[in-house]
Symmetry: C2
Subunit: 201 residues, 2 copies
């Protein structure tokens, strides 16, 4: 007697869900069984996925998401400073920076960071469109707001080299103490960076 398993379509769905980021075998199984527990749980999810697939795409210029037939609220804003471009890894980073209220320029989403171990090369990121952008329009400064991990640093130094060749001022987000935290909550490298980047009062 072959060992019992779910019907093939169910096995395939569990395998698919399991392959999504943040979901393991157990949570995938629990999620799929939950979807099947009552009628009408699958269709709204399918509809929401289809709506995004059909109506949402990335802005050709900045890479943030826009709805079909609509202008990018960032790139077409007359209230933003189009001479300063802030480069981020992901679209979600744009929202984080917007919520901080610290930036009034425009954005450029790379779509990741350089990582030879994961086969992410400059061609996989939106680096060429960034260079075309700074050549085509007058840009005073490019702020590299990528992460401060190894891949982020590599991406930042690669970009800063390319942009400086074009004569563009390049800057990087400051590293240092998190707001509201004491020295006991900060790792040594961050403390080193905070000391190194200290500001005279």
């Amino acid at each position: 007697m072959p060992s019992l398993d779910y019907p093939p379509p169910l096995q395939r769905l569990i395998a698919h869900i399991k392959s999504l980021p943040g979901l393991g075998p157990r949570s995938a199984e629990r999620l799929v069984l939950w979807l099947l527990q009552s009628q009408g749980r699958v269709e709204p999810l399918v509809d929401a996925l289809m709506a995004v697939s059909e109506r949402v795409h990335a802005c050709d210029q900045c890479g943030f998401f826009i709805e079909r037939d609509e202008d990018c609220v960032l790139c077409h804003s007359t209230k933003r400073n189009h001479q300063i471009i802030c480069v981020v890894e992901q679209a979600a980073d744009v929202l984080r920076l917007e919520r901080s209220g610290a930036f009034g320029g425009v954005y450029h989403v790379l779509g990741g960071k350089l990582s030879p171990l994961d086969n992410v090369t400059p061609e996989d990121l939106r680096i060429e469109p960034l260079l075309e952008r700074v050549k085509a329009q007058q840009v005073d400064e490019v702020i590299l707001a990528v992460g401060s991990d190894v891949e982020g640093e590599a991406t930042a130094s690669y970009l800063s080299e390319m942009l400086r060749t074009e004569g563009i001022a390049v800057s990087r987000l400051a590293q240092g103490m998190p707001a509201g935290g004491g020295l006991d909550h900060v790792d040594e490298l961050t403390l080193y960076q905070a000391m190194h980047g200290r500001r005279r009062l």
Copy 2:
């Protein structure tokens, strides 16, 4: 200036994914952005969901999943003992018991457990079909393989009362020490149950 957010279809998809069990706001956002990061990630997921929605449903008798137009491999098996019914909470429990190899009878999936706090009453579970089943065919024993938490105990005592009225022998899975574990890994209640249910060698 209204604060920036994702386009509405994307917000709706994130809200929907967030409402699924096991996914929080951050993991939902990460998952959705991952789906959008490359072309062709949404469609296979939609296809897998649609295939399950269209082709998989619960067996009318036991409640385990079957593929459309196919017989239930459990209820139609000639190699299983149809006089012993094992009652479980979820379809996933059927697979767990099958993997243990400890049971050769047939199953009955309740679809949950009694829980007044969550508004789960006997009408919400497949209890009526269970009673019809034991009345319609000759059943020697019903094994209650529901959980040993408060709701599981309540469900078990409710079912055992109903089934005994029908003159059916009812049993419950043994509680005790987990296989391969020492006393230091067992909580006090389990230890109490293990002592209480000790077997003479």
